[in-house]
Structure formats: structure tokens, C-alpha cells
């Protein structure tokens, strides 16, 4: 059997190739998120200072809620026959989990970057934190990818799977939401963001450990 890293790479390559062909994230999920950002001012008013103030928070909420669609899309779309063939490759379930999360991570970083530009434009939010912002994108991307992949594995093919995953992910993604918003807010106020970043990193580590340990038991439930 090939090494763990090679197994992860095989799964991630497969998922990214499939996404490149279908374009679901770029052509469906991303526009959907952008529309959400567009709808809010239509509902609450277009007062520029207010929008500038709430813009960053809204961005992160949209990332959390819509980002979960990215991390569960391919798990939910996989047929029984496809899952059977993956199982028969003998790949370590933990490697399958990490590989799926890795592919979702890449797509989530792209998603955040693109949506970030939309937010900058629509809400006239000043760009701050040229180092902190990418770091936050990476950590949030990793956290959401791990959480969404784990949640999709927990729900698997059960009843109401599609609706249940966001319900499971949303509350558990709150440390990421608060960490991301407060890290950038702290920067804006001239304070240290380190605590918030560390909190998010701890969240990511907890999710990674939970996902890897749960991978084999969860493969049984399919």
C-alpha cells in the first residue's frame, strides 16, 4: 500500500479534478454567496457607513453558511457504486478523510478570496491585514473543510442528509466565525490578534484529530 501522503494526494487530486470539470464551486456556490451579500443591503438599507461596519461580519457569516456546501458537495453526490470502488482500493479511511478535506480546503480558500473581493466592492470595506487576512483565510478554510467533511461522514447516506449537515456544522463553526471576525477587528483597533488566531488553530487541530479518529468507524456506517 502506498504511503499516507500519497493516499491523501490521490483523493485530493480526484476531488479537485471532478470540481474542475463540473465547476460547481466557481459557477454555482460562489455566485450564490455573492447574491447573499447583495441581498442584505436590499433588506436592511444601503447606508454606507453601516454597511462598511457590518460588511466584514456578513462576509464571514456567508463563508460559514455557504462554505459548508463546498465541503459536503462531493461526499453527498457520491453513488454507492463509487463508494464501493473507493473502499476496495484499500485506502486508509483516515487518508480518504484528509484527502477530501484537503480538496475542500483549496476550494474554500478560493471561495473566500473571491467573495472577499465582492465584499470589498459592495460594502466598501478597507483592506487591512495583508498578512493576517491570508492567514485567517487559510485557517478558516482548513477548519470548515475538516468540519464539513467530518459532518458529511457522520450523516453519510442517512435520511435528510443534505439538510442535516449544515445544522451540525453551523453551531460547531462558531469558534472559527468569532476568531476570524475578532482577529481582524483586533488588528483594526491596534490590538494583538494572536489569541484569536491561536484559538482557531486549536479548533482546527481538534477537528483534524476528531476526523482522523472517526474515519474508520464512520466508513462502517455506509
Amino acid at each position: 500500500m502506498i504511503g499516507f501522503g500519497a493516499q491523501v494526494a490521490a483523493i485530493a487530486r480526484r476531488d479537485l479534478r471532478r470540481e474542475r470539470r463540473t465547476g460547481e464551486v466557481v459557477w454555482v456556490t460562489l455566485p450564490f454567496g455573492a447574491i447573499a451579500l447583495l441581498l442584505v443591503p436590499l433588506a436592511i438599507g444601503t447606508d454606507a457607513p453601516m454597511l462598511q461596519r457590518i460588511g466584514p461580519g456578513l462576509f464571514w457569516v456567508v463563508v460559514m453558511l455557504f462554505g459548508v456546501l463546498i465541503s459536503v458537495r462531493q461526499t453527498n453526490a457520491e453513488t454507492t457504486a463509487q463508494r464501493d470502488q473507493v473502499a476496495l482500493t484499500g485506502l486508509d479511511p483516515a487518508a480518504i478523510y484528509v484527502g477530501r478535506a484537503a480538496a475542500s480546503f483549496v476550494l474554500l480558500v478560493v471561495f473566500q478570496a473571491a467573495l472577499g473581493v465582492v465584499t470589498l466592492v459592495l460594502y466598501d470595506v478597507p483592506v487591512e491585514g495583508l498578512v493576517l487576512l491570508p492567514v485567517t483565510f487559510l485557517v478558516v478554510g482548513a477548519g470548515l473543510a475538516l468540519l464539513g467533511t467530518l459532518a458529511a461522514g457522520i450523516v453519510s447516506t442517512g435520511t435528510n442528509a443534505t439538510a442535516l449537515v449544515p445544522l451540525l456544522v453551523a453551531p460547531l463553526s462558531i469558534p472559527l466565525l468569532i476568531g476570524a471576525t475578532q482577529a481582524l477587528e483586533a488588528l483594526r483597533l491596534g490590538r494583538s490578534s494572536l489569541t484569536w488566531v491561536l484559538m482557531m488553530i486549536v479548533t482546527v487541530l481538534v477537528l483534524a484529530i476528531a476526523g482522523v479518529l472517526s474515519a474508520r468507524p464512520l466508513q462502517e456506517t455506509g
Binding site: R21, D84, Q85
Partner: protein, 239 residues
């Protein structure tokens, strides 16, 4: 016991294959499948009930039954994809109620009646994924597609291929991985005469290499000619 050499295959010329390097010598038990009073439940109903089946190396067993008899579930059980609800199941020496069942999965070739290809990937990419996962040279995937007559369609997206072509690609995957246990669900479904010959050759090769094949079908005539023996399955039980 039969000693099986597991190596990286290289397809040299028509009909011949020589492993370049033996990675592992595996002592395969003579009895490859041993089911003892095995039942499988789905919710509140039994799909299989008290199934007993023993298959030795070199055998090709045809399993016949009507719709809903439990043929596909039996095959997925043998592929270690479905856990038994009761009884003892041993596949290639591994008990299905233990972690060791994961270790034998790479030695199983399973072709279901629904292809397990990713529609948005080409046939070559689908097989290359399996090759990557198994540590097999990627060229082997194209070679395998050539050998099943899909060389010209290797770069075609799977969802642009007919059902028959997709099934051929699944057989190419089996050809590439050289399993010890070959499990075929409705092996003749959607296949033309050439592809049928391919299936027969695959079954013969697996059996002659010390493996075994299970062919599940409701088409007695065609499968009986490939099988060394047949069993009937009805209402979840083998008679």
C-alpha cells in the same frame, strides 16, 4: 495453501504478463470464501438468511436467482462492503467482523451491475485513480483500456460513454489490479460478444492463477458455461 506473488504488472504482449517485481508473497488459503450461517439484515427485513457457502481456489461459481433473491447483497458481502448481521464470514482468510477485512480489499475485484465510474472524469482518469491508490504504474491503466478495446475512448468522459463501454472500463480496472477474488454482478449485462469473451478470459485467468470467481446472474445459460459449479439463491438463502 497457495503462494501468490503480488507485483507490479507490465503488459508486454498479447496474452502475456510478467510481474516486473514481486512486492509481496502472500500465502493464500485454499478456501477463499467460507460463509457459515451468515445473515444480512436491512432494517426490519432479512436480505440474506443463514447462508452457507464455501469456495476454494480455482473455482468459478455461478450464483443464480430471481429478482430480489439477495444476489447483489451476497456479492457485496463477499466484497467485504456489507457486514454480516449474524454468522461467520471469512473472505481470503479475513474475518468480516474484524479489522483485518480492510487488508484484503485490494485483493478483491468487484464489478457491480452499476458502474462505479466518476462521470466527470475520463475512463483513463478513473482507472488512473485506482492505479494511484494501489501504487500501480499509471501506464497500466491505459494498457488495460487498450486490452479491453477501449484504447480509443480512454480520454472520453465516462458519462459520454455507453453503459456497455462503462462496464468494459470496469473490467479493465479488474484486469489492471489482478484480484485474487473476482466478483461479477450480471457479468454479461450490456456487453457485446467481444466483451463477453473478455469476461470469460478474466474469469479463467483468475481461477487458473489460484484465485476464484463468483458470477451472479439470472442468465443461467451464459454463466453456466464459465462456471465450475453453480448454486441457487432464493429468498435470501442458498440451496
Amino acid at each position: 495453501m497457495i503462494r501468490t506473488h503480488v507485483g507490479i504488472p507490465v503488459f508486454r504482449d498479447e496474452g502475456s504478463r510478467t510481474p516486473v517485481r514481486t512486492l509481496l508473497a502472500v500465502d493464500t488459503p485454499q478456501t477463499l470464501i467460507d460463509l457459515d450461517a451468515v445473515s444480512v439484515r436491512a432494517g426490519s427485513v432479512h436480505i440474506l438468511r443463514d447462508v452457507a457457502l464455501e469456495v476454494n481456489a480455482g473455482e468459478a461459481v455461478g450464483v443464480f436467482g430471481a429478482n430480489g433473491a439477495g444476489k447483489t447483497t451476497l456479492l457485496r458481502l463477499l466484497a467485504t462492503l456489507v457486514p454480516p448481521s449474524a454468522g461467520t464470514a471469512t473472505i481470503l482468510g479475513a474475518r468480516l467482523d474484524r479489522e483485518e477485512r480492510y487488508d484484503v480489499r485490494p485483493r478483491i475485484g468487484y464489478v457491480g451491475h452499476v458502474p462505479g465510474l466518476y462521470p466527470e472524469m475520463t475512463l483513463a482518469e478513473n482507472l488512473a485513480f485506482t492505479a494511484d491508490a494501489r501504487g500501480i504504474n499509471r501506464e497500466a491503466s491505459r494498457d488495460a483500456l487498450e486490452r479491453v478495446g477501449l484504447g480509443g475512448a480512454a480520454d472520453r468522459l465516462a458519462d459520454r460513454c455507453s453503459h456497455g463501454m462503462q462496464r468494459r472500463a470496469e473490467f479493465a480496472r479488474v484486469l489492471m489490479t489482478q484480484p485474487d477474488l473476482l466478483l461479477l454482478d450480471e457479468p454479461h449485462s450490456a456487453l457485446d460478444a467481444d466483451a463477453v469473451d473478455l469476461v470469460e478470459a478474466l474469469v479463467a485467468r483468475t481461477s487458473s492463477n489460484g484465485g476464484a470467481a463468483i458470477l451472479v446472474s439470472h442468465d443461467r445459460g451464459r454463466v453456466a458455461s464459465m462456471a465450475t459449479r453453480t448454486v441457487e439463491i432464493a429468498r435470501g438463502t442458498i440451496s
